[in-house]
C-alpha cells in the first residue's frame, strides 16, 4: 500500500544522490556535485517534514505502513516484506537523521572544499543517509539489519576516507571488525525471533507478546541479550566501545553525523523499537541499565584525561550513549529517545565547532596547543559555549531536560535504581568537568602556540553551527511529559509518578548543582590555578596514568584477544591447516599430475612420424574392435554390454 507520505522516497533520494556522485562525480563540475549532494538530503528532509505536518496536523499516532507489493522473502510460513513504518518513534528519529544530516551536509561543503575526493566524500555521506533512513523506517528486523549493516559500511568508508593514512585505514577496519561482533549477536537474535515467533515484523511480535502476558524471561531473555550485544557494538557500549575513539580519524563532519548524532544511536533506537521483548525480559533490561551506567562513568573518566579535542568528544559521546542505555534499561524508552534527540543537537554542534577550530588552526587537534581562541573565532566560541552548557545539563539548555528525565526515571526504580541514579549523577559531574576543561583549554586563557593565524570559518560552516546552537538551547523545551505522551503508542507509557512530593524538582536541583560544581572545578583547575592539574596528576600518578591510557583496554584486548587470534591464525590455520593439510594436498595433486605428465611426455616426442604411427595404431585397434565378431566368440557379450549400460 502506498501512502501519500511517499515514505519510500525518503531513502531512495539519498540513494540517487549516491549513485550520481559515486558513478559520475569525478567528471561532474564541483558545483553540480554540491547541488546533487545537498538536494538529496534536503528533499528527504522536506518529505519527513511533510509527513510530520500531516501526522501532527491530523493527530495521527497510529503507524503508517508502506509495503512493497511483492514479498522479499517467502519461505513456508515466514514472510518478510519490504515495509516501511512511520510511527512517532521513527518520525522523531527521521527528523533528527535527515535534519541534522542536512545541516552537516551543508557544513561539509565548507569543510571539505579543498580536500581531495570531494565527490567521493559526498557520495558516501548520501549512502549513509540512505541506509540510516532504511534502518529507521524498517518495519521488520531483517530490513533493519540491512540498514544496520549499510550504515556500518558507510561508517567504514568514511572513517577510512583518508585511506592513504595508515591510522585511518586501520581505524576503519577496527570499527568494522568490532561491529561484526555486535552484528553476530543481532543476527542470532533475528534467527531466534524467526524460530520462536515465526515473524520478524515488529508489530506482529508485539501482538504475539501482548496476547501472552505471562510469557516472561526464558528464550526472550536470550533474544534480548543477543539484540543488546548488537546494540552494544553499534552504539559503542562496554565492552565493544573501543572502535569509536579511533573512528575520529575520519573527517570531522563524519564524526559529527555518524559517530555522534545518528549512527551510534541506532542501538538505542533498536532497543526502543524492540522494547516489548525487553519488557518481557526483566533480566536483560537490568543488563541494559548496568551496561549503560557502567559505560557512562567509564568513558567519562577517560574523557577527563584526553588531550585530543575530538577524542574528548568521542569519549563524551560514548558516555552520553551510556545514559541513553541507562534510560532504556529502566524502561524509560521515551526519555532515552528524548536524550538521543537533544544529544544529536548538542553533540553534532560540539563536533562541528571542533571541526571549525581544527579548520581554523590548519589541522591542529591538540588541546594543549590551543588557548585564547575566543578572540579569533568568536562565533565558534559562542556556539561551543552553548554546546558545553547543553551537554553539562544546565537549565534551560536542551541537555538538562533529557538527562534529568533519564536520571529521574532511574531514581524511581527502587534501591538498584538509586545506585544507577548515583552513577549517572557522578557521570554528570565528570561530564561537566571535562567539557568545561575543553572549553577553557581551547578558547580561554592565553594562546599557547605562536605563529598560528587562526581564522573564522566560512558561513557554509557557521550557518549550520548557529542553527544547531539554537536547537541545543530550545530542543528540550518540549518537555519529557509531552514528548513521552507523543511517543507512547510506539514506546509504551513512561511511568513518572512518585510518592515523594517535589522529588523531580529536588533531583533537578541536585543535577544542576552538580553540573555547576563541575564548572567550578574546571574553572579552578584550568583557569584560576593552571598549575593544579599537573600537581594533581603527579600526586595520584598511578591513577592518572591508568586513566590517561584509557585503562589500557586496547592493550588488554590486544593481549587477550587479538594476539592469541593472530597466533592461532598464523600457527594453527596458517601452518597446520594451510601449510600442512591444504599445502600437502595441493602438493600431492601436483605430484600426481607431474608424475603422469612425466610418463605421458614420452609420447610427445615432436617426431611427426611417431605421432602418425600412434594414430595408425589407434585406428587399427578401433577397427579391430569393431570388426571382431564378438557375438560368435562370446555369445552373451551383448547382454553384458546392455547390463553395464544400465538396461
Amino acid at each position: 500500500m502506498n501512502s501519500p507520505l511517499y515514505l519510500r522516497l525518503i531513502p531512495l533520494l539519498p540513494l540517487c544522490g549516491f549513485l550520481v556522485n559515486g558513478l559520475l562525480g569525478r567528471r561532474l563540475p564541483k558545483w553540480l556535485v554540491t547541488l546533487v549532494a545537498l538536494a538529496a538530503p534536503l528533499a528527504a528532509f522536506g518529505l519527513v517534514l511533510n509527513a510530520a505536518r500531516v501526522c501532527f496536523g491530523a493527530g495521527i499516532t497510529a503507524p503508517v505502513v508502506e509495503t512493497c507489493p511483492f514479498p522479499w522473502i517467502a519461505a513456508g510460513a515466514l514472510r518478510i516484506d519490504f515495509s516501511f513504518v512511520l510511527d512517532p518513534l521513527s518520525l522523531v528519529m527521521l527528523l533528527v537523521v535527515t535534519g541534522v544530516g542536512f545541516l552537516i551536509h551543508v557544513y561539509s561543503v565548507g569543510y571539505m572544499a579543498h580536500e581531495e575526493g570531494y565527490a567521493r566524500y559526498f557520495s558516501y555521506l548520501n549512502l549513509f543517509l540512505f541506509f540510516m533512513t532504511v534502518l529507521v523506517l524498517a518495519g521488520n528486523a531483517l530490513l533493519m539489519f540491512v540498514g544496520w549493516e549499510g550504515v556500518g559500511l558507510a561508517s567504514y568508508l568514511l572513517i577510512g576516507f583518508y585511506f592513504q593514512k595508515d591510522s585511518a585505514a586501520n581505524a576503519g577496519k577496527k570499527a568494522f571488525i568490532v561491529n561484526r561482533i555486535g552484528d553476530f549477536g543481532f543476527l542470532i537474535g533475528i534467527f531466534l525471533l524467526i524460530g520462536n515467533f515465526g515473524t520478524l515484523t515488529f508489530s506482529e511480535i508485539a501482538t504475539k507478546l501482548a496476547a501472552n502476558p505471562a510469557w516472561q524471561g526464558g528464550v526472550l531473555t536470550t533474544i534480548a541479550l543477543c539484540l543488546l550485544l548488537g546494540a552494544c557494538g553499534k552504539s559503542a557500549q562496554l565492552p565493544l566501545y573501543i572502535w569509536l575513539p579511533d573512528a575520529m580519524e575520519g573527517p570531522t563532519p563524519v564524526s559529527a553525523l555518524i559517530h555522534a548524532a545518528t549512527m551510534v544511536t541506532a542501538g538505542v533506537y533498536m532497543i526502543a523499537r524492540t522494547h516489548v521483548l525487553f519488557d518481557h525480559a526483566p533480566f536483560a533490561l537490568g543488563v541494559v541499565a548496568v551496561v549503560g551506567a557502567a559505560t557512562a562513568i567509564f568513558a567519562a573518566t577517560i574523557g577527563l584525561a584526553q588531550n585530543d579535542i575530538k577524542r574528548v568528544l568521542a569519549y563524551s559521546t560514548i558516555s552520553q550513549l551510556g545514559y541513553m542505555f541507562l534510560g532504556c534499561g529502566v524502561a524509560a524508552y521515551s526519555a532515552a529517545i528524548f536524550h538521543l534527540m537533544t544529544h544529536a543537537f548538542f553533540k553534532a554542534l560540539l563536533f562541528l565547532a571542533a571541526g571549525s577550530v581544527i579548520h581554523g588552526l590548519g589541522g591542529e587537534q591538540d588541546l594543549r596547543k590551543m588557548g585564547g581562541l575566543w578572540k579569533k573565532l568568536p562565533i565558534t566560541f559562542a556556539v561551543t559555549t552553548v554546546g558545553v552548557i547543553a551537554i553539562a545539563g544546565i537549565y534551560p539548555f536542551a541537555g538538562f531536560f533529557s538527562k534529568d528525565a533519564i536520571l529521574y526515571a532511574a531514581f524511581l526504580q527502587g534501591p538498584g535504581g538509586i545506585a544507577l541514579w548515583f552513577v549517572g549523577l557522578v557521570t554528570a559531574l565528570l561530564t561537566s568537568i571535562y567539557m568545561f576543561r575543553l572549553w577553557y583549554m581551547a578558547f580561554l586563557g592565553k594562546p599557547r602556540t605562536e605563529g598560528v593565524h587562526a581564522h573564522e570559518s566560512p558561513w557554509s560552516m557557521l550557518g549550520p553551527l548557529v542553527l544547531l546552537a539554537l536547537l541545543s538551547i530550545g530542543g528540550g523545551w518540549v518537555g519529557i511529559e509531552r514528548f513521552g505522551a507523543y511517543l507512547k503508542p510506539a514506546t509504551g507509557a513512561l511511568r513518572m509518578e512518585s510518592s515523594i512530593p517535589h522529588l523531580e524538582l529536588i533531583l533537578s536541583g541536585v543535577a544542576v548543582a552538580v553540573a555547576l560544581l563541575g564548572w567550578l572545578v574546571a574553572h579552578i583547575f584550568y583557569s584560576a590555578r593552571p598549575e593544579a592539574p599537573a600537581r594533581l596528576a603527579g600526586a595520584i600518578s598511578p591513577v592518572y596514568k591508568l586513566v590517561a591510557n584509557k585503562y589500557y583496554v586496547d592493550e588488554i584486548y590486544g593481549a587477550v584477544i587479538v594476539k592469541p587470534l593472530l597466533a592461532i591464525s598464523r600457527f594453527v590455520l596458517g601452518w597446520v591447516v594451510e601449510g600442512a593439510i591444504l599445502g600437502g594436498l595441493a602438493l600431492l595433486l601436483a605430484g600426481i599430475a607431474n608424475f603422469s605428465g612425466a610418463i605421458l611426455q614420452r609420447w610427445q616426442s615432436g617426431n611427426l612420424r611417431s605421432y602418425a604411427a600412434w594414430l595408425a595404431a589407434g585406428a587399427a585397434v578401433l577397427l579391430l574392435f569393431v570388426l571382431t565378431p564378438w557375438t560368435t566368440i562370446w555369445p552373451d557379450s551383448m547382454n553384458f554390454i546392455l547390463k553395464v549400460a544400465g538396461h
Binding site: S605, G606, N607, L608, R609, A612, A613, A616
Partner: protein
C-alpha cells in the same frame, strides 16, 4: 559397368587394391624421411579411400559416394597447394626436408 563389376571382377578385388594402396601410403608415411615422399604418401592414402568410395557407389547404385570423391579430390588439391607451399617455406628456412629434423613443436 555394373554387370562387369559384379560378375567378372569381384568386389573384394577392388577393396583389396584399395587396402593395399592405403597400407602402402601408411608405410610410406611412417618410414620415409623425405617430406615430399611423405606428402605423396598422404595423397596415395586419399586416393585409396577414393577407390573404395567409387567401388561402393557402383555396388549400391548410390551417387553419394561419387560426390564424396569429388569433395576429397578438391580438398586434396587444396591441400597439395598449401602443403607444397609449406614445404617450400620450410626448405627455405631450414635447408632440409628430413622429417625427423623438423621437430620444433617439441618442448
Amino acid at each position: 559397368m555394373n554387370s562387369f563389376l559384379s560378375q567378372q571382377v569381384p568386389l573384394s578385388w577392388f577393396l583389396l587394391l584399395s587396402a593395399v594402396l592405403f597400407v602402402l601410403g601408411i608405410v610410406g608415411f611412417l618410414i620415409k624421411r623425405n617430406l615430399i615422399t611423405v606428402f605423396m604418401s598422404i595423397e596415395l592414402m586419399l586416393n585409396a579411400v577414393n577407390l573404395s568410395f567409387v567401388t561402393f557407389a557402383c555396388q549400391w547404385h548410390a551417387v553419394k559416394g561419387q560426390i564424396f570423391v569429388f569433395f576429397v579430390m578438391m580438398v586434396a588439391a587444396a591441400e597439395a597447394a598449401v602443403g607444397l607451399a609449406i614445404i617450400i617455406a620450410i626448405f627455405r628456412v631450414r635447408a632440409t626436408l628430413a622429417v625427423d629434423r623438423i621437430d620444433l613443436m617439441k618442448l
